[in-house]
């Protein structure tokens, strides 16, 4: 009997590999190979107009002394913190509203979800029109409401450009947070709230003692996805400000891209590796803090 069961087992493993093979192949082609390729390129001088040469860690040493690299890190960190915070805040409010049953809920749900369905580059173009100096709706509102006599150059100063980008990103990705939180909310048994109401708790107590603790793993998932996505922000900024004014809104990804454009693939790769490390580091951190692995078990 024993050899037989072993054979079955082996067959099972083989079958498992077979069925998983499309996923494994796709992961290899689209994730593993590019990541390794970028890592390797980062150790080389790979400049289109110069012969290739192995440099060891020289590209990374250069990064350390590169003020503009640190500026882009600073911008990215600030952007991630502010935008993810707002997204979580608004996402929570929308999720709590949508979790109730009321007439028109379906329509409201669709309205809230629409921004998520619009491709990044297109939503960036939409916002570009809204912020436009000469005919943008923001300047129309600002002038006609008497807040300012002259039109404001929204994308023209570092601070207003920063917040313009944050607003566009929050508008675009809050729906994502909403959907995840909504899914989490729907798993919380209604009886818990009923019981708590009998015990005479108010709405804030119910939120902080029931909703928040039970929602914590889901919040971590939402934060995880949003943070990693925000760290890699590229398209929105590329279209909206191109990294300006004066390089003040250059994210790390955009900074890496600029080197690719100038033909320095080695240095660009080194910067990309940093983005990769930061994003994976954050993922690990969240998983540890959120005790996500235990939860799955």
């Amino acid at each position: 009997m024993a050899p037989n069961s072993n054979k079955y087992l082996r067959n099972d493993t083989g079958l498992a590999y077979l069925f998983n093979s499309p996923l494994i192949i796709i992961t290899l082609i689209f994730v593993f190979i590019p990541v390794v390729g970028t890592l390797v390129t980062g150790f080389y001088r790979d400049v289109t107009f110069m012969p290739n040469k192995f440099l060891g860690l020289a590209n990374y040493e250069r990064l350390f002394e590169d003020i503009h690299f640190w500026q882009s890190i600073q911008f990215t960190v600030l952007f991630v913190t502010v935008s993810v915070m707002f997204e979580l805040f608004f996402g929570m409010i929308f999720a709590l509203i949508l979790n109730e049953t009321f007439p028109g809920r379906g329509i409201l749900m669709i309205a809230i979800l629409i921004p998520w369905a619009i491709p990044n580059a297109i939503s960036a173009r939409i916002w570009e029109l809204i912020y436009n100096f000469e005919y943008g709706i923001f300047n129309f509102l600002v002038i006609h409401s008497g807040l300012s006599a002259a039109p404001v150059n929204w994308l023209g100063s570092p601070i207003s450009a920063f917040f313009s980008i944050v607003i566009s990103d929050v508008w675009k990705t809050t729906p994502f947070v909403t959907v995840i939180l909504l899914a989490g909310l729907s798993t919380i048994p209604k009886q818990l709230y009923e019981q708590a109401m009998i015990d005479g708790t108010n709405i804030l107590q119910r939120f902080s003692k029931i909703t928040l603790p039970l929602l914590k793993p889901v919040i971590v998932v939402a934060l995880l996805f949003r943070t990693i996505d925000a760290v890699r922000i590229f398209d929105l900024i590329y279209v909206l400000t191109g990294g300006g004014p004066g390089g003040s809104t250059t994210s790390i990804s955009l900074y890496a891209f600029k080197y690719y454009l100038n033909g320095d693939f080695g240095y660009g790769s080194a910067i990309s590796v940093i983005v990769f490390l930061v994003a994976s580091g954050l993922a690990i951190l969240y998983l540890k803090v959120g005790k996500f692995t235990e939860m799955i078990k």
């Binding site: 499309p22 796709i26 400049v47 289109t48 107009f49 110069m50 012969p51 250069r62 150059n153 023209g156 100063s157 191109g242 300006g244 004014p245 004066g246 390089g247 690719y260 454009l261 100038n262 033909g263 320095d264 693939f265």
Partner: protein, 428 residues
Amino acid sequence: MKKKYLKWLIILLLMLIGIQCGNSSEQFTIWIGGSPRELDYWQQIITEFNKQTGYNLQLVRQPTYSDQRRQSLVIDLEAKQPNPDLFLMDVVWLNQFAASNWLQPLDKYVKDNDFQLHQFFQSILNSVDKYKGNLYALPVFLDVALLYYRKDLLEKFGYSEPPKTWSELLNEADKIQKIERKNNPNFYGFLWEGAQYEGLVCTFLEFTSSHGGGIMNNGKVDLYRKSNIEALQFMQDLIHKYKISPPSTYTEMKEEEVRLSFQRGNALFERNWTYAWKLHQSNGSPVKGKVGLTILPHFKGDSSVSTLGGWHIGISRYSDEKEKAWKFVKFITSFKSQKKLILNVGWNPSRKDVYKDKQVIAEAPQIKELYYVLKHTIARPTVPYYSQLSDIIQRYVNDCLSGKISPSTALQKMQNQIKEVEKIYGTE
């Protein structure tokens, strides 16, 4: 359900692979970007070429912005793709493209008996189209910076000619601005490009070179010198001391901002590229018929210069249709095509004989002045890592214009940072 998804996924993947493999190398393409109007005109030219030759050259439309155009070319050339066969390059990319070995040398082709290389401006070919002795590209149209002035205002105040030196410009602008302000509080004497972008490198190059300075000196970057400090000081003073240029010069003034403001009648002088001429003269323009153009002024004792711009055509080294591609290069740089370009779209020809054509002079009289300016052009540094140099120059010149740092600090910082860049990209 899952099986069905898998099936579709596999089909999708195969399709993606199919698209990659099916990238039919038999195609014969030229990649050009620009405004829709320009591209429509290119389509006409290409259709005419195909009719004449029986080839099937296809226009691949690139984005409008020059950085995006460069990006799509860099990706395909670095991947050694057989397409594009032909493409247009901004004058400042030429060195990077040639040094990266992406361009087919044209020396063999220009020896054609019926090709008139002598009709091109030799100084331009030598300074930008040649790399290490080989010819890699040919200019399709040229661009230069000019001084536009309000003829009517100069006449009104008794000046018969536009200023020749910067101090003349300053005096006239100062005097006229004071009086014109009474009617128009937005009026400024002199508008120029000072925002942090590529155009600032051009204005910086013009101010410094018209004082005997410049970016390069004997093939080396030499920024920290007396002439440059004085010229940069003058640029700063135009905004902060003499106040004939607005504070928005260093925050938002790019060519379109400069053009629009001048066109609304808010300025006496304007430094801009040749394209502004046609727009100033268009119907509905408040300054129509009141504008003149001339070469940029210079500092006393030195001579005027204008930054060279424009687009050049090259053949990809990886093209599989090089002979046919050369036919198109010849076609577009021919007298006939070049004449059409100036008459139909207002692009300045790269051939000298077009500037002497009677019909062209009659229909586009500004061309006489342009011919003169073209002989006084200066190219931006021709190094493959130009974009890095440009970034550094833009940043510090802009900081200096805003008054944050002094001209000598700015120039010293630029010089030091460019040395770092040269250490990385300038060896071997």
